[in-house]
Symmetry: C2
Amino acid sequence: MRQKKYILPESEIPTHYFNIQAVMPNKPLPFLNPATREPLKPEDLYPVFVEECARQELNQTDEWIPIPEPVREQYAAYRCTPLVRAYELEEALGTPAHIYFKNESVSPAGSHKLNSALAQAYYAKKEGITNITTETGAGQWGGALSYAAKKFGLDCAVYMVKVSYNQKPYRRSIMQTFGAAITPSPSMSTRAGKDILTKNPNDQGSLGCAISEAMELALTTPNCKYTLGSVLNHVCMHQTVIGLEAEKQMALAGEYPDIVIGCFGGGSNFSGIAFPFLRHNIQDGKKTRFIAAEPASCPKLTRGKFEYDFADEAGMTPLLPMFTLGHTFKPATIHAGGLRYHGAGVILSQLMKDGYMEAIDLQQTETFKAGILFAQTEGIIPAPESCHAIAATIREAQRCKETGEQKTILFNLSGHGFVDMSAYDQYISGELQDYKLTDAELAKFMESADKLNA
Amino acid sequence: MRQKKYILPESEIPTHYFNIQAVMPNKPLPFLNPATREPLKPEDLYPVFVEECARQELNQTDEWIPIPEPVREQYAAYRCTPLVRAYELEEALGTPAHIYFKNESVSPAGSHKLNSALAQAYYAKKEGITNITTETGAGQWGGALSYAAKKFGLDCAVYMVKVSYNQKPYRRSIMQTFGAAITPSPSMSTRAGKDILTKNPNDQGSLGCAISEAMELALTTPNCKYTLGSVLNHVCMHQTVIGLEAEKQMALAGEYPDIVIGCFGGGSNFSGIAFPFLRHNIQDGKKTRFIAAEPASCPKLTRGKFEYDFADEAGMTPLLPMFTLGHTFKPATIHAGGLRYHGAGVILSQLMKDGYMEAIDLQQTETFKAGILFAQTEGIIPAPESCHAIAATIREAQRCKETGEQKTILFNLSGHGFVDMSAYDQYISGELQDYKLTDAELAKFMESADKLNA
């Protein structure tokens, strides 16, 4: 019988996170204080962030950061996650390509997000924090943080982008089941939310706005810190457990990937699968291609600009050097809520600029078509976000069919879609719309970033 | 680091199903033709059932039935499933008991049901069948059969109990994503459905009625066979892969269960976890207790009678010797749709009668409370059905706390609850009601069975 899954024992759960900053030929540019334009030091981030996370964020020297044992112990509930050979998807496509996927959907919260949530909650607890807060788009990150907070005995408050709050009631219930308090954003509970609702009472929210609200709560609540589920360097680093495991598992399969693919919102799951392999491009002359799959409605890597910009809508964060669509960007209400963010992580933006990775943009109907083929062949109904990675994988596999090349493709299945079935329903009934950001919209949103770089 | 999960490689996927009929001290009584009261032979079941399944159904001699390689190959998408030590549930309860669970929620359809669906679809395909049909309550079995049918190239039509069709739209979408056609039952598409709707246009359906409709479709459609997801002997036998794996995994953990627990609808997941261990009670003098956890609203084992009864509402099936509440039983609309069936499987009924197993009944609020504690400690949101097994486990663990006994408890986590979040929502908001079958209701429903045994 052919081997379908490559499994590692719990003893192989990584002991260290891989900090790609330490090996990047061009280090990321500094975060800037928006008022003084001075580069930030870790201490400048302490008021908002857990201190250990702030130090990791700006650590450009240590290649390996030890994973605390209590975090590894929590990882053991679901890690090591399986690496799976997608034989039946290959057969359905008639491709000579070998397709593998790393199945992060098996985590308690249903996605890779828990890899960082557990680390952040642990560090918070260790520093004597009692409350953590965050934003969530699709609800994947919020669900993960809710669970992680419960595991380490913290109270958790989540601002959930309003369109997702209404589109995805099951995700809200998941967070509540794990014991968190959920507020739809924009809300009247913060000044940032009030300002937005005053301008537009029907505002459906954005990740940028929800970030502003959560940050404001952290700054105005004693013993409360803010946590983020993507974009930031320490979050991307926590996700490298994905690729570190995958590297060992690919070796068990006797293969090494020619192409590595992840969907792309702020960059966390992409970083997780890509960085451990990318280090071999940097250090060992490997030639793997890294492809980020983003929605056509939110094309920060394919059509955004590399500029300093705020990470949130209200402009409360430091200025980050990143590919951005402008921090006032309002995304179309596609179902891949986790990909509706205006900027790319700082590390990823630098790697993109330096040609270490590429990006493509996809319409959502193509991604759901890919997701259904994947469900019917490999048996896992993917999250709408993950459908982008699958659609990009299928494009590459079809290219192999045309050229006859037997490439090895690895993608990250970032999460399952069991709580996104209404989106599948819409696709199946032919009601799902495509959205593409127009040039005029792009120019308008970019003004908010361009002004900061003038 | 303590070991959390016990994992077996794909090579350890069982090669044979365990047929407990061959080793039972008292064999199950025969199925009867309702008109002639003659015992049935396998051939009598061929018009409705896949022939191999009909032969397995009445096979009381072969202890081990080989699992076809194409079925094992499909099992490899998710098997062997993990056995997990519930350390954090133990700690939350402060119990000296060792609690283990077999995690069947990792299957593509989200529950153990796929174990039999793949076997039945494979046998159907091998016999040249092109269409299969079935009923589904909670949607777990329907989802599993939809996926299995797709894997073996069969068309699949599912009658879904109307209350679940409306309560669980996500389950419907899952079946459609896997490519099946879904009809809410009772429907006007069959004579059985029409009869019920004529009497009561607002009938919310029952498994018994949906079975009648699916059987009618099979009997009136060329090259179409009926499949069942529980109750029948061959279905329970297919599920023994669960316990066979668990036996090896418990050995890896260096333990043997004092108590084995499963939730109970028709008996399939209970059989799966119990039979392989129960054989050692029969053959090797082990003293493991086997506890079936059923809802107080549908207490066939705790309050039903052992009688001959129909397996469906309209009386189209053979007469089966089983613990029953009467085939006209109308269940309360509890969320554990998969447990709302009026009868217990024939093998299970005989084992119950002979004292090899016990049963308890539970109110649904107790089960959801248990499910939330499990989610917050072990990270998996359980299906409402599985919450019954968890609640029963917690009762036993608390008993150990009182007595100080360090018993080893194993339960089957039959499925996850990601598509049942509206039920959790109701529980969290305090809106969930308890239901207990009254003596008067029981007496009324039992008349339909009593008449057949007069």
